[in-house]
Amino acid sequence: MTAFVVPGYDVRRRASTSHRDRRTRPDRLTRMALNTDFAGREYPPAGPFPVSREEIADFAAAVGATAAAHRDPAAAQALGHRDVVAPPTFAVRLAQRCEAQLVQDPEAGIDFTRVVHGEEGFTHHRPIVAGDVLTGVLHVDRMREAGGHGMVSTRVELTDDGGRPVTTVTSTIVVRGES
């Protein structure tokens, strides 16, 4: 199972409140602390993840993506692609499997039930197409406690079977302090 991630809201406002609380009343920090020693860590490659036409079509249908190039190989080839092309956020399916190595590691101190999703970004070095066999290397770019909340920023570098860069996926999750 992938990371339990909730779209974040009001995090910054609560963060400032909790920050004061924590300074004056450290006993009120109720959740477990992040293990910030994980910052800077790089994981071994995860995968391989073969990408199929069906996976791309299912993802496109679920997000309501309309382009024929997600479903019809001929339409994709007419645009110069080898096969059907993934929607811009499809790589999250692969990235979250890589991120699970960190998020589900009890040593990291990330409490699923308090996680909200803060930010997500994708940089496509080339489009993901059906037939790709990708691997992902997870980097823990930042991991810190701020104002009673934990902030974890990760980066997954997806590469193809020739080791060439395909997509960089960045994600920031916030582990809420008090509820």
Binding site: V6, P7, D58, A61, A62, G64, P87
Partner: protein
């Protein structure tokens, strides 16, 4: 490749979401967190009800960008967002997100455009700084 075109009219869209769609997204994305499927699980996590995956909302919003660049997903070079609000999806209800995009910058030397999307549900913003860079 044929001449590149863009379609500003493609940048506005309303996308419906219901529980069935969230189940489809859970399967397609691999994110099976029960707070996106089950009212009791959502409430146990302190939420009002089931909420859409933030990544569903981002994915649904981004399709206007693909449409803008002539339906060629390969012209979407990058995209990013912050998650600022939740889309609550009660049982037996269909909720809508509204997406409105605008060209924020054109970089003629690089041949790219930066688009900014305003994404709301029930009049409230649900994504923040949602941007995409496309090959113009």
């Amino acid at each position: 490749m044929s001449e590149l075109t863009t379609d500003a009219a493609a940048l506005t869209r309303t996308v419906p979401v219901d529980r069935a769609r969230l189940l489809d997204y859970a399967a397609a994305s691999g994110d099976q967190n029960p707070i996106h499927q089950d009212t009791a699980a959502a409430r146990a996590a302190g939420l009002e009800d089931v909420i859409a995956h933030g990544m569903w909302t981002m994915g649904a919003a981004l399709d206007v960008v693909t449409a803008y660049v002539g339906g060629d997903p390969g012209r979407v070079l990058s995209c990013s967002t912050k998650f600022t609000g939740m889309v609550v999806v009660p049982e037996d209800a269909t909720v809508e997100i509204h997406v409105e995009g605008a060209v924020k910058r054109t970089d003629e030397a690089a041949g790219t455009q930066t688009l900014e999307l305003t994404v709301t549900s029930g009049g409230r913003k649900v994504l923040g700084r949602c941007q995409a860079v496309v090959r113009a």
